[in-house]
Symmetry: C2
Subunit: 194 residues, 2 copies
DNA sequence: CGATTCTTTGAAAACAGTCAATCTGTGTGG
DNA sequence: CCACACAGATTGACTGTTTTCAAAGAATCG
């Protein structure tokens, strides 16, 4: 059950994991199955766990005064879900995270992840790389948001994360891009005609 | 000359810096003065250094096909400048970074920062916290970009980084917010009338 | 003072959002 | 197997916001 996570860590690290490392990691992981639309985190809560997704898909979003959802993050198999700011700073989150599909995940508490990262060099390395990658992706997204048109942003997403387009309906993708579902529909129709 | 950087590190770390630590840090730092509009990094180059700003202000921006600049980052005293992705991955940057004002900075190479972070626990801690803070701020900005109107984004910037409004002209602020200078001018006039 | 940079304003055009209606496909229960 | 409900996608007409372009007004600096 834990193999995907172990593989994932190995993938990000030059140092191999020892048998002991693996056992420690397995012991810290809590398996949890989420039903469709079940919340992993609600606004105002502290994000106690980070979730490594084994199967399924989750979305992280804020909700504005009008009740509109704005999706900041989409995660599928072999990705993490969780509000890192809330999880690290122990502050109440401004986001909701829920399962878009039925989702199996491994949950890890902050205390355990600190402990593991401190005692497993391979994990320390992997964790650092993941954080870096995450930050790079975020700056990229900021740049896309301020410099590209809706059409260009969609094209970029299509190239960068084609899985998302298979996996999530268009109104979710639209929200991720910061536009309405109607605008996305029109953008796509225009693109087809070219 | 290095005090601001040492203070900055102490500020982010519970562990105190030893005399030896400080000497190592000072030795790794290269002082450089940038004239107004002088480039620290140009598109296509690898970002060899990170810069800690002692005095002055820098901006990081991409340039689109039309030649329009889109500002992804503004840095002033006691902030860092540099394209972290390029610096870490040694890949060509898609950004320009230049000095908006005459700027004094301490430059550190990737090799030196790795060496220092590995050998100075206080710095390792500080560096981790800085990276986290940076990532949190970026997700926030993504959320603001997809969920807030131009007016709300300006209000948020005003509250969060009031120094910026003193320091940079409006067309720079507008670009940072992802709008045109004309729109920002009108947004501000409307806000005053309330 | 003159030059440059920055800010504001106006009018038109492009773009995106809203609301309501329709269309499509999927899956459920009778 | 059909009828129906439901979620998703599309379309049209309308509204509102933002951009664009051009011009003119401040402000700043040598």
């Amino acid at each position: 059950m834990h193999e995907p996570l172990l593989k994932y860590i190995q993938n990000y690290s030059a140092t191999p994991l020892t048998e002991g490392d693996m056992r420690m990691i397995e012991e810290a992981c809590i398996f949890k199955r989420f039903r469709k639309r079940q919340y992993f985190l609600q606004e105002g809560e502290v994000c106690k766990y980070l979730a490594f997704i084994l199967k399924g898909a989750m979305r992280q979003y804020s909700v504005d005064e009008k009740g509109t959802e704005h999706i900041v993050y989409l995660s599928i198999e072999n990705w993490w879900a969780g509000d890192r700011e809330s999880h690290t700073m122990l502050t109440p989150s401004r986001y909701f995270i829920d399962a878009w599909e039925e989702t199996d995940a491994l949950l890890i508490t902050r205390a355990d992840s600190i402990k593991l990262i401190d005692s497993i060099p391979a994990l320390k390395e992997a964790s650092k790389k993941m954080d870096e990658k995450n930050a790079f992706a975020l700056l990229n997204r900021v740049n896309a948001n301020i410099s590209l048109s809706a059409e260009q942003r969609y094209a970029e997403l299509e190239k960068k994360y084609p899985e998302f387009l298979q996996r999530f309906p268009q109104h979710i993708i639209a929200s991720y891009l910061g536009i309405t579902k109607e605008t996305l529909s029109r953008v796509r129709n225009r693109a087809v005609k070219k």
